[in-house]
Symmetry: C2
């Protein structure tokens, strides 16, 4: 579609505006009110639509797509209830500042008053996660999409929820797609940089990195700052991080409150770069919400909307140092994989060894993922997408979105069994799109994290049925096969290594259920 | 727990208050902030908790449980994102006025300010579907639960969203569970009854029934009114309806706008009993939102909160007639099942013939369910639960809830393939609880409803990927087996009859994928 002479429906103008601004993917689960949007997506050259069998898959995939490409994808949803199904993964995206544009079809504007069954107040859903933008005429579809893009690319709220009444999607327009100017990133304040740099050079100075992406350049700058000042460097829960043998490793702040408090005990000043002050994930009795020592200084040097690399470069310049080259320290070699019965330890070994150079790793495995994470600095260079907002069910959709975003890279998903079940329909889209994804299910057949928390809280729940997933155990390989993804179950490290090798040798998606010894 | 001497946590008091008011089931998907609620549920004698692997299963099951028993069940959710996953089926419950109590764990109250990852504004989610009630202390857990019950049982808003901060769940209390008085149903206004009765006796008088339940007594009253006045009797989308050979049959208003308009073309006055004025499901060009003739009278005799039977009895008394006995007319015998390749017609025949007396039928199959619905008046007496709010994914969860509510009754679910995928994790809870559910998947391997709507809208979408589910086709029998439910695929009427027979002969859940000829 020639953007200078577009003539068609409001839906056509909306899609043309997305395309004119470099947004060329849509993760969709449409219904009757989105038929003209479907038509517009179908006939717009250069737009790729990916059908998902549940809206939570769309939103999680769109999030990961944006994390990998730096560009938002569209999500397409069927009125309020369809958008409601997408919300949990929109929450995750909001938490790590992923740009996201949710296109929500609605009743024809004149039909709203009839309060038909699917009618609802989309505004209150939108308020939960982002900014509401309403299309109010077919001509308005272009400016509204432009406003949504502007919001998604801006420094503040990055979730734009674009409501499209059906009559404005099907109505005619000769509107021209507006082009959105990219916002400039704020430059860091020189005085703040000087103060932060001085603080890092004092004993107990700590650099905390977080935000949408911690890339190789940022890691090399941080390593140079560490060497020059003697500070420690840690990360929060970045949405995307480079890892592996060619980049400096940094410690991640622990998940549980006591280790978290311990990790920060000696801090004199925390310099927060793209990071909020660390907090515990939940509130616990007799445990502070903020684990930094009360007397420690806090220096916020740029928020998540700011450019991490630019901020770190300013500190490095202040120090007069260059980014380190390579990993800075020699990574330990990866261990031999223990061939015996599977534990989180040898599962992590096999997984880390299987990562090919340039892979994308998606991890949603808090209880069982530690083995991999500890070895990640020694693995082949790869990109890690973590699930950072805490909403469960982001892992498999993220694997979909990452694979769509980077068809030339392998995607490995380390996935807990309990959380896999929330968005298990992701497997079908993997099969449909022939995505090169290998899913490793860490099958402990429990909500293990709850058992850990119960024990920590001193609650005896012998035989509680509310944390057990073992009756019946889900046959994940069978479920995967049902969705069109070849699946296999393994119980030892040796079997897991072989299964990972086979998955790597064949194109398309695979699922390996790694059954952990009880 | 003795309600006169309860001493324990706020969570204990909350659960004791539910139990003291006859609420003894909880459909749960808990997380860290709900550990003390889990503990309280586990140790309260008489409370049954049912674990679901996704929150949308909990809410759909709780809805159906209430529709069958007339008593609300609890749903238990993990903060805002967990509740978000439940919302689509809460929307369905709201639309058909099911009493529902959603217990939502939240961060410890003093931890909210830290804005930890899972923290969110639960108020805006709650506003979308119901009424927010907050527990503000351990002692307050009892009164708050009582208020939630009062709301759920009241005439107006029946969705109570009860937010429980973790510290108020774990804190101690000696509070006593309050007992909630059941609200009295409003008696109908005598003048309105007289006016409505007179209108029904005039040519074109129509009785429109709707609401949470159309029971056998209401149907027999409506039949007596029909015989006495010559009016027509139709139903909207009741949440629960008695059907089969021992109750009078009434026509259901059609789904699509043109047949709907046609069905109401001759109406002089519509007497709405427990019903809103009929509206089209969506807005279409050149089609009115309200299909009743503009000049027709509308008499609203009681809303969905009122007692349908009492209202109809008032009209019958005005007319001086008694409820009809039995079905009123002789139902046509059920046809022989066409043994050939499956179509919606012989699928419906086989399904209708397989319904045992006293069964509960759950139907979420708009495109393929018509065959059964047409034959339902001739089938054995049964209860139909329809998915009425339009949000997709209510069918399988409803089958879970119905089977938990009525362990002595068979549950048959007629389920479209596309909508089955939204809450497919329901199968696992069916296996876990050994529920006597037979799921028949109507596998046309498309979002057929969209193709129908596209054709009606004159949109050519040859080869659109956004309505096709056939690449790859989901092997539902395989997916079911993976979740622990025996599954089989059939392609002919004869095979379907045999599979239904086998499922009826064996206890526990079964899934039959009925593959429709293309």
């Amino acid at each position: 579609m020639d953007s200078a002479e577009s003539a068609g429906t409001g839906a056509d103008l909306l899609v043309a505006t997305a395309l004119a601004n470099g947004i060329d993917h849509c993760f969709a689960n449409p219904g009757t009110t989105e038929l003209h949007l479907v038509q517009a997506l179908d006939r717009a050259p250069g737009m790729r639509s990916v059908l998902c069998a549940f809206e939570g898959v769309c939103s999680g995939a769109a999030d990961a797509f944006a994390r990998i490409t730096g560009r938002p994808a569209l999500g397409l949803y069927h009125l309020g209830p369809g958008f409601a199904n997408a919300l949990a993964n929109v929450h995750n995206a909001r938490r790590h500042h992923t740009p996201m544009i949710n296109v929500i079809g609605d009743q024809a504007s004149w039909h709203l008053a009839a309060d038909a069954p699917l009618t609802s107040d989309i505004g209150s859903l939108s308020e939960w996660t982002g900014r509401l933008i309403e299309v109010t005429s077919p001509d308005g579809a272009g400016p509204a999409m432009a406003e949504a893009i502007r919001g998604a690319l801006g420094d503040e709220q990055r979730i734009s929820n674009l409501v499209v009444p059906a009559d404005h999607a099907w109505g005619s327009t000769t509107g021209v797609p507006p082009i959105v100017e990219r916002p400039l990133r704020r430059r860091p304040d020189a005085d703040m940089v000087a103060v932060a740099t001085a603080a890092l050079a004092r004993p107990g100075g700590t650099l905390v990195l977080d935000g949408p992406a911690i890339g190789a350049a940022a890691l090399r700058l941080a390593e140079a700052i560490r060497l020059a000042t003697g500070c420690t460097v840690t990360s929060g829960r970045p949405a995307r991080q480079e890892l592996g043998s060619d980049v400096p490793a940094i410690d991640q702040l622990p998940y549980f409150p006591q280790p978290l408090q311990l990790a920060l005990a000696g801090v004199s000043t925390a310099v927060l770069v793209g990071a909020e002050e660390p907090v515990t994930f939940f509130g616990y009795p007799d445990t502070p919400s903020y684990p930094l020592p009360t007397e420690a200084g806090r220096i916020a040097l740029g928020g998540p909307g700011d450019d991490l690399e630019m901020l770190l470069a300013a500190i490095a310049t202040e120090l007069g140092v260059e980014p380190s080259e390579g990993p800075g320290r020699t990574p330990a070699p990866l261990p031999e994989v223990d061939p015996g019965p599977l534990s989180p330890r040898n599962l992590g070994q096999a997984f880390a060894c299987a990562i090919p150079e340039g892979a994308i790793v998606v991890s949603e495995a808090i209880s069982s993922g530690g083995g991999y994470r500890a070895l990640a600095p020694s693995a082949a260079p790869h990109t890690l997408l973590a699930v950072t907002g805490g909403a469960i069910g982001g892992g498999l959709p993220a694997a979909v979105g990452a694979a769509v975003a980077a068809p030339d890279r392998s995607v490995l998903a380390l996935q807990a069994d309990g959380s896999a079940l929330y968005t298990i329909q992701s497997l079908w889209t993997m099969a449909r799109e022939r995505l090169d994804v290998t899913v490793v299910i860490c099958a402990n057949r429990r909500y293990q994290i709850l058992d850990v928390e119960l024990a920590a809280a001193g609650i005896e729940l012998a035989g509680s049925e509310l944390t057990a997933l073992d009756d019946p155990p889900v046959d994940f390989a069978g479920v995967a096969a049902g969705f069109g993804v070849p699946g296999v179950a393994v119980t030892t490290g040796a079997e897991l290594v072989r299964a990972l090798d086979r998955a790597a040798a064949e194109p398309g998606p695979h699922l390996i259920e790694a059954v952990l010894a009880g």
